[in-house]
């Protein structure tokens, strides 16, 4: 009988199961985007290489091999991508630099999602003058180019000597992290606030209020969880921006502090030596660009699959 319902000549579609959840439908749409899925695989591969790869080396990234200084690329030797002018293994240094860049990217994005959702939920739900002030602050911070803000926060915090209990806020790497997060949370905060404003007048919020929940409970248990899904679509974009911001700061020489290295600081070192050895620039730069390519395709895929406004 089903043959009769299909118009002749129309392509045969796979039957859609009934009662599929919106999340599953979106996940399925994402899985059909081959470029995004392939990017996900490449990204996972680079993650694995950066975090597990260094265990396969018999030496550390700081060890100088004085017998093989500036060794050329030779895949079948001890140093497959050669060594730098101090005899340090180039591939190993790039992988360990990747650990810093990727960790900062992912945790920076996660933290800024949390902050922005709470901030947006409070502003959107409470409304009134508090909303005005909170959004005005975001507007003001928006009128500064992000990179200036990041430089200012990073340098000022690093020299501040501030401690939050046992946590030294002034350590070079933590202050870098805070500077990155601080430039990231503005855009998602605006999105989350918009969502909170539209949620505020919904019936289930009214019901929660009628049951005697106070504002903070409503914000943390109803508004914020329901705003996360709107922001999460942009999470891979946030990872992208976090990695870029971190590497720009490191490139300018005010990012991660030695002995740590990140892709940005490695590119900085390499750029100073392009006349003698281009690999120092091209290897970390290539890794960085590949990760950013992947994140960009994943962002596009997520947006096409999950964002209700894009359909």
């Amino acid at each position: 009988m089903s043959d009769l319902t299909a118009a002749p000549g129309s392509p045969v579609h796979e039957p859609m199961p009934i009662g599929i959840s919106p999340f599953k439908a979106s996940a399925r749409r994402f899985a059909q985007n081959h470029l995004a899925v392939a990017s996900g695989f490449v990204l996972a591969l680079i993650l694995l290489a950066c975090y597990l790869g260094p265990y396969f080396f018999a030496f550390s990234a700081e060890d100088a091999d004085f017998e093989n200084i500036s060794a050329p690329v030779n895949l079948f030797t001890l140093h497959p991508f050669g060594t730098d002018d101090l005899g340090r293994d180039l591939l190993l240094r790039t992988l360990e630099g990747g650990q810093v860049s990727l960790a900062l990217g992912f945790f920076g994005a996660l933290t800024s999602v949390l902050i922005s959702v709470i901030y947006g939920a409070v502003a959107g739900y409470v409304g009134g003058w508090l909303d005005d002030i909170m959004m005005r602050v975001v507007d003001i911070l928006f009128s500064l180019p992000f990179i200036l803000l990041a430089i200012l926060i990073k340098v000022v915090l690093q020299d501040s000597g501030l401690h939050l209990g046992p946590i030294p806020l002034d350590s070079p790497n933590l202050s870098l992290f805070i500077a990155v997060v601080f430039t990231l949370w503005l855009t998602p905060a605006i999105i989350a606030r918009g969502q909170a404003v539209s949620l505020r007048s919904r019936e289930f919020i009214e019901a929660a209020r009628a049951q005697g929940m106070n504002s903070w409970q409503i914000i943390t248990q109803h508004i914020a969880p329901n705003s996360v899904n709107v922001v999460i679509v942009y999470s891979s974009l946030l990872v992208f921006e976090a990695i870029i911001t971190e590497s720009v700061l490191s490139y300018l020489g005010i990012g991660v502090a030695p002995p740590f290295a990140s892709w940005g600081s490695l590119v900085n070192e390499g750029a100073a030596k392009i006349e003698t050895d281009m690999r120092l620039l091209l290897l970390p730069g290539g890794f960085l660009a590949t990760v950013l390519f992947c994140l960009n395709y994943i962002t596009d895929g997520l947006r096409d699959a999950f964002d209700p406004n894009e359909r």
């Binding site: 005005r136 507007d139 003001i140 911070l141 009128s143 500064l144 180019p145 992000f146 990179i147 200036l148 430089i151 200012l152 926060i153 340098v155 000022v156 915090l157 020299d159 501040s160 000597g161 870029i244 590497s247 720009v248 490139y251 300018l252 020489g253 005010i254 940005g264 590119v267 900085n268 390499g270 750029a271 392009i274 006349e275 281009m278 620039l281 091209l282 730069g285 960085l288 660009a289 950013l292 390519f293 960009n296």
Partner: protein, 306 residues
Amino acid sequence: MWTYVLRRAIGSVPTLFALSLITFLMMRVAPGGPFSGNRRVSPEFVKLVEDAYHLNDPLLLQFWNWFVGVLHFDLGPSLKLRDYNVSELIAIGLPTSLEVGAWAMLLSTLVGLVLGIAGALRRNGPIDYTAGALAMIGIAVPIFVIGPVLQIVFGLELRWLPIARWDNSWQCRILPVVTLALPNIAYVSRLMRSSMIETVRTNYVRTARAKGIGERRTILKHALRGAIMPVVAYLGPATAVTIAGSVVVENVFSIPGIGRYFVQAVESRDYPLIMGVTLLYGAIVIAANLVTDVARGLLDPKVSYE
């Protein structure tokens, strides 16, 4: 229209004031001052120098004095580069920064528009794919990687252009401008492409075609005017992107602009210079957003300001 511009201009004053106050307080909560790095001089002497610059006054009084100075177009002295005041330093660096920035904006807008339109009209053709690849590179490869790679290719290998030099020749401007323009080319061409694809499907474009005015006039006179709106709206934020990029590009190519001052100034606690550059950049971004909004109002009859 003019009342709208006036209202927005007046509205930007409190924003700039708050921006300055935030920057000021953020700088001053950090210990260490512009003169604390000198180990050879006695603390008494440091205090004398600080007193001379009024750095030991109450913070809010200092801010107030700075603000009153700004109202008189006096941004104060530079604490590190003696013999210069902040206005002079900006006057030295700004023309260079503006020159590179303006060329980059012009180049990226024009190339982005052309690539976007060409890609939209010949979808999935060779131009479309080239433009798409270029856009991907512009978005995903940071400019501090693109810059040195261009230096390698055009400076070291081909020897067509200088690697990093700044004089009056046009050759030394090409690489910085192209590097700075690439991210914007990417965004503009993508915006233009998707907007053009949507616009050529609309009824008014079909009407224009039906009148028989020819494909060229249909696209350039009718479709373009509607399709360009998202690009115009992007130009405000694009200015912020370009300024952020110029901080890096000036570093890569050793260009004597204000972007390079800023990093040095923050590290050496040159308070008036930091405040001056922050205020300047904030004002440029706000002005760019205002110009963008006015341009949208002039171009798009659907946007009205009342």
